[in-house]
């Protein structure tokens, strides 16, 4: 019977580890998985050569790039989860401002820890509201968070009549942004911590697998009993909380809370995440890619300024490079 041939096949040897690795490489997306890293190296090399005399590779400039990249990277990690779950969070920029203001307000009166927790808590609360409305009222998160962007921006503007709130707390500023461990900036440390936590959550926690499943095929995820409503809400909470943490980092570095912090981050963050290999429509995410994407965005920003481009030309050049990178990272996705 047919059964005989099946058992023969079943008893065939398992492939060797090297074969398995090659097999995985070929079938899990091939080169596409690494486009963002290639792009990173390519852009770094290009700027290193043409901007050699402008000090692109000087330690102070690299530090500068890292400083710019840190809040973008932290937000990108959060956004990667929202996108992976099949949602999107357009309110992240406004949450950065809200978080910085809450931190500034509370740190002054109640100290470092209370201020930090309040800022993160307020941000997570925004994400919770986003998620609950998205799931319970069945409005696409695109629209919910677009509305929330307006609401939170308005609250931030009203907070102190458009004036910034100073933060006079050395501990807060030292831990979040201004200080560091020896020569290593605390911003770098926090970025690595958030990136590592995100990577572990995506790949090694049940929650991460459920986020991906929900974004890839919500009906199928439901059918195996995953509570996809809760997963979607949690992804939006994580996205907002990450934005809140980016706000804390900015507040720490600048020692202020202000209504316009993070205002123009949204598109940069989305570009970083998508360049990094996360699918804009759910089901595929890369945390390391998102962080690398954030570095690319900061590097582009920095390099184009050093090249002496006018603001208008910077915008054009950045737009072209982003479209190219996204096209590359998505082209093969269709085949996979």
């Amino acid at each position: 019977m047919i059964r005989k041939s099946i058992s023969e096949k079943a008893s065939a040897d398992l492939p060797s580890p090297v074969e398995a690795l090659i097999d995985r490489y070929r079938h899990n997306g091939g080169l596409r998985q690494y486009v963002v890293y290639l792009a990173f190296v390519l852009i770094l090399a290009t700027f290193s050569v043409i901007l050699h005399d402008d000090g692109f590779l000087s330690s102070s400039n690299l530090l500068n790039i890292g400083r710019q990249a840190a809040p973008i990277a932290v937000m990108a990690v959060g956004m990667a989860f929202a996108l992976a779950a099949g949602e999107i969070d357009l309110s992240v920029g406004s949450v950065v401002a809200l978080s910085s203001l809450v931190a500034a307000e509370i740190v002054g009166n109640h100290g470092f820890l209370a201020g930090t927790l309040a800022a993160l808590g307020a941000s997570a609360l925004v994400g919770l509201v986003n998620g609950l409305i998205t799931v319970k009222v069945r409005i696409p998160s695109f629209l919910v968070t677009l509305g929330m962007l307006g609401i939170i921006s308005g609250i931030a503007r009203n907070w102190n009549d458009l004036r910034s709130l100073p933060i006079r707390n050395d501990r807060f500023s030292g831990i979040f942004g201004a200080g560091g461990l020896g020569p290593v900036s605390s911003l770098l440390i926090w970025t690595i911590v958030v990136g590592a936590l995100g990577h572990i959550a995506l790949h090694h926690l049940r929650w991460g697998r459920h986020v991906l499943s929900t974004g890839a095929d919500r009906d199928a995820a439901n059918a195996v009993g995953i509570n996809t409503a809760r997963v979607r809400i949690s992804a939006l909470v994580v996205s907002a909380a990450a934005a809140g943490f980016a706000g804390v980092l900015l507040a720490g570095r600048l020692s202020i809370g202000r209504h316009d912090l993070g205002e123009d981050y949204l598109l940069t963050v989305i570009a970083a995440v998508v360049i990094g290999g996360t699918n804009l429509f759910g089901g595929r995410a890369s945390i390391l890619g998102a962080v690398t994407g954030a570095l690319i965005m900061a590097m582009l920003n920095n390099g184009l300024i050093l090249m002496g481009l006018e603001v208008a030309d910077q915008l054009i050049a950045r737009g072209v490079i982003i479209i190219l990178a996204v096209a590359l990272s998505m082209r093969e996705a269709k085949e996979g």
Binding site: D23, L205, R206, W207, R209, H210, L212, A223, V224, G225
Partner: protein, 258 residues
Amino acid sequence: MSAAPALVASGISKSFRAVQALDDVSIELHHGQVTALLGDNGAGKSTLVKCISGLYQPDAGRIFVQGAEHRINSSRHARELGIETVHQTLSVIDPLDVAENLFLNREHTRGGWLGARIGLLDKGRMRRECAATLARLEIRIPSLRRTVGSLSGGQRQAVAIGRAVAWGQQIVLLDEPAAALGVEQTQRVLDLIVNLRDQGVAVLLITHNMDRVLAVCDQAVVLYQGRKCAEVDVAGASKDDLVSYITGARSTDSGDGV
């Protein structure tokens, strides 16, 4: 194999707005037997499966599992009762690998109590058990680390069925499991079904292929426009008999009774 039927669904009705998808349908599944659920497109087959597997709540009717009545209010609940389903649209998740799909929402964790709380996955254990399960079912997949999205249609189907089979200790519902499969792959699915039956599992098989019904099924329940129009022993039935029930030309369950 207990004497009580594995599953009894009695008087199930379900309507969607004006459409009466199921009208007073009853079905019994027995341990160690394969029951075919037949009917034309739109006859209500998938709706009945979804009522039993917890995705739909029937408007009326009762469901007994191993003799005890349950209101199955979610797919999670159905799984807890030992009911596994392979839906027509596959319930595999493309970006996850084979082992992750097999253990989806039943993941093993490591790291003790804390690991269980935060859901720290024990990937090694899941891969080992996955390999053992697939070997037992004679399902061959190139690599368990491959994402399911990169597998062929037949392999994906095998993973979906493998998952249902691996966990379905009592009752397995298969909605068109061999749709869009090649000849050899279809034969493997049928082998799997026979394998399950021999292990005492109650199997419900939805299919349009009469040869498959005759090959592996013990009973056949035929739906016609949301009502049960026939319930026959496959052994005594011919292909033509089954087709005439499906098209509504004949009925064993008509108003005046049989």
